[in-house]
Amino acid sequence: MKKLISVAYYTFVENIRNKIFYVILLFGIVITTASLLMAAISGQQNLRVLLDFGLGSIEFFALLTVGFAAVTLILEEIQSKTIYLVLTRPVSRSTYLCGRFIGLLLAVFCGMAVMAMIHLLILFLNEWHFTLRYLLALGLSGEKIMVVGALALFFSLFSSSAVSSISFTVFFWILGHFSQEINFLANRSKGVATKVVGKMIYYAVPNMQYFNLKDFWDVPNFLGRWVAVSFIYGIFYTAFCMLLCLWLMRYKEF
């Protein structure tokens, strides 16, 4: 456990000090602030625009960060051979991999927290009344980040190329937003092959709709159960991806 915490801590420090992290964070802050401008031209709906645009920006920039960072999390270590100096010590590959992933997530969540604080400040300046739904929406965005990070890590271990890993991750991310539609088409399909392939895609790709609380902001009386299911789903999907990563890592040669 001590080793896992150490790997996670130094990965966190390394990512926080990375200039690319700051650039993305800066962009996130700029875009969040730009929502002010959007709100100004949107008349009576200004608070809603501020809210949606801000939360969307936070999620988008966090996704960018986690996507690129997770793909290079182990790949770069292999290419630069820094991994040699860790795996030639009494550290299991699973401890190392989980520690790296947790450290990266903590760094990205830290970036999200900074962006959220700026966003909240802007909202409060516009006389917005705080609701717990904001934190839940942010939390579910965090779950989406975790799922995408785990997927990116899996593809990076599977394909050994940063470009193809990013491409696969983006492809899954897009498919994940249409998983309900894919399921619908699979159910309606009369061909067995189409049905099987459709169902396979539906179960393989993450259902990103679970994490989009901001799309259902005003729907009453559904929140508790839906949020619980979403959290459990995100954790299980991530755990499954991590198990695949551990399996790949076990047989990997350096």
């Binding site: 001590k2 080793k3 150490s6 790997v7 130094y10 420090v13 390394e14 000090r17 990375n18 630069s80 051979k81 820094t82 040699y84 100096l85 860790v86 795996l87 030639t88 010590r89 009494p90 550290v91 299991s92 040669e253 350096f254």
Partner: protein, 251 residues
């Protein structure tokens, strides 16, 4: 007492591209043993299998056949890895961490007690104590080499495995490295190193194994070159002549 032992160690790399599988021989049937307290050098041309042998010893690669034992145990067990200090040919570290932080990290990974005191001691040993809070991205090549030495010694290991420890060093650093290797030997540590700097190997090692085209060509005892300067080089050239996969440069 035998510390490192390999028996018929073989590594065949498999790479597949567009459905075709390509096989490349890393090493074949390599057997040798290293005794406690000696400096054992692995000599060979580029691509002869020196790094492959080291990676197999450290468990970074899995053998296609044969086996390697360190202290009588399978080489990649945690118990064994605790007793090994490794320095790769071109050490690369996390650039955003400081010298002190990176050593703290490696010390924790190696289960060192009283990490803070050990890190300070080792930083002092390699002459980097004053610069311990500088980021590694600001370190020169020589300073990074010292960090590489420090990380290999941070847990006071019994066995040191160094891959090309003097490659790319300036003459002063080579002399310092030579001194360090002899000092570590005098402390009872076993050193297994690969190199293609034969003159340096001649000065420090007790035995040298010559690899040619992935096979062990010969193991040479110190006595064979001790009295005649340049003898190891002559033996080496005789053993590896024609082993290079590249054509000769036409002068």
């Amino acid at each position: 007492m035998t510390v490192i032992e390999t028996t018929n160690l073989t590594k065949i790399y498999k790479r597949s591209h567009l459905g075709k599988v390509y096989l490349t021989t890393g090493i074949t049937g390599v057997s040798f043993s290293v005794n406690r307290g000696e400096i054992f050098a692995l000599l060979g041309l580029n691509g002869s299998g020196k790094t492959t042998t080291i990676k197999l010893l450290l468990g970074l690669l899995k053998p296609s056949s044969g086996e390697s034992l360190i202290l009588g145990e399978r080489t990649h067990s945690a118990k064994v890895l605790k007793k090994i200090g490794f320095m790769p040919e071109v050490p690369y570290f996390y650039p955003y961490l400081t010298g002190s932080e990176i050593l703290h990290f490696y010390a924790r990974m190696s289960e060192v007690d009283d990490v803070g005191r050990r890190v300070d001691k080792i930083l002092d040993l390699v002459g980097l104590f004053e610069r311990r809070n500088k980021r590694l991205s600001e370190f020169s090549k020589g300073m990074l080499q010292r960090i590489a030495i420090a990380q290999s010694l941070i847990h006071d290991p019994e066995i040191l495995i160094y891959d090309e420890p003097i490659s790319g060093l300036d003459p002063l650093a080579i002399s310092e490295m030579r001194g360090l290797l002899l000092k570590l030997k005098s402390e009872g540590k076993t050193i297994f190193m690969s190199s293609h700097f034969i003159s340096e190997v001649e000065k420090v090692s007790d035995r040298a194994a010559i690899l040619a085209r992935g096979s062990l060509a010969r193991i040479v005892e110190h006595g064979a070159w001790a009295d005649r300067e340049g003898e190891l080089e002559r033996i080496f050239i005789k053993e590896v002549e024609g082993a290079s996969e590249l054509g000769k440069i036409k002068i």
